[in-house]
């Protein structure tokens, strides 16, 4: 097991964790999952997707129990809302997010508002064409980059937007209406013309690179 743990900024326990799926699978304690989670896992057809689901839920329970010593892993009830967000039953003050990618799962919890986390391999290829998911401003920034800078720049935008999508309450904001600041520290919602919305949501972004292989973004 090779956990990476980052403490929250308010001295209130860990904010997020990541773990290798292979390690989590080898040491997984499926008993901490609820009956409905085990049924969901059994219904997942692809073995790798099933392993990541189990690893993600297990890691999230461990993180929640560590953040809130009064919570026992086995007693935590997680439900998926219609929006797709995970909710901790009976603990609306705790916001949670899980991300899975090839070889790694990441989990986050935050008690000061919505949170979203995303992880991707640094070498991930096959990013979708920017026109479909970048804001107009980001498309202009991309056009000014040298060819060898574009892939990592695109990957960072993708990971940030996925984290933001999980954090925004409605989760109905199109990716091309989420603008990541050029320094990567914040993201705001904009309209289709790239103008910040009157009721725009500004989120703070945190970044971490795991073992030179995975890029993690956390939005809150």
């Amino acid at each position: 097991v090779n956990p990476h743990c980052i403490d929250g900024p308010c001295g209130d326990g860990p904010l997020w964790r990541t773990r290798s799926v292979v390690a989590a699978r080898a040491g997984s304690r499926r008993s901490s999952l609820s009956t409905s989670e085990l049924a969901r896992a059994a219904a997942i057809g692809h073995p790798a997707a099933r392993a990541r689901f189990v690893a993600g839920r297990t890691l999230l329970r461990e993180l929640l129990a560590e953040s809130r010593p009064t919570l026992a892993e086995e007693g935590i009830e997680l439900v998926v809302e219609r929006s797709g967000r995970l909710r901790v039953v009976g603990h609306d003050e705790l916001q949670v997010s899980v991300s899975h990618t090839h070889g790694l799962v990441a989990a986050a919890t935050w008690c000061h508002g919505p949170v979203g986390i995303d992880v991707e391999p640094l070498g991930r290829a096959g990013l979708p064409s920017g026109e479909t998911w970048l804001t107009l401003g980001e498309q202009h920034q991309l056009a000014e980059l040298a060819a060898d800078e574009r892939r990592e720049w695109l990957l960072r935008r993708w990971v940030a937007k996925e984290a933001v999508l999980k954090a925004v309450p409605s989760r109905t904001v199109p990716r091309r209406c989420i603008e990541v600041a050029s320094d990567g520290r914040h993201a705001v919602t904009v309209d289709e013309a790239g103008v910040p919305e009157l009721a725009n949501q500004t989120l703070t972004l945190h970044w971490h690179v795991i073992a030179d292989r995975h890029l993690v973004a956390l939005a809150h």
Binding site: I44, G45, H46, H100, P128, W158
Partner: protein, 85 residues
């Protein structure tokens, strides 16, 4: 374009996005993300390729409608006016 054509097109695109896919083994009612181990980037790549080949725009709000093979065929048939068969 018929619904059969759309199903063939979708399986062709899925084979491109997830090369290990066995088209004959895809359960048309299962969530493609769970069945084929697709993530959000794969999903957007799939929808982008389908959109390009059909010449239509799929709004992001509609992406959840394409998460099963049957759902995707029904959605695309409605969008392009495809008859059954």
């Amino acid at each position: 374009v018929t619904t059969d054509d759309l199903r063939t097109l979708l399986l062709d695109v899925l084979s491109d996005v997830a090369p290990e896919t066995d088209p004959a083994a895809v359960d048309p009612t299962e969530d493609l993300r769970d069945e084929l181990d697709l993530d959000s980037m794969d999903e957007l790549n799939m929808i982008t390729k389908v959109s390009e080949r059909l010449g239509i725009d799929v709004p992001e709000d509609d992406y959840p409608k394409l998460r099963t093979l049957d759902g995707a065929v029904a959605y695309l048939a409605d969008r392009v006016g495809a008859p059954a068969g």
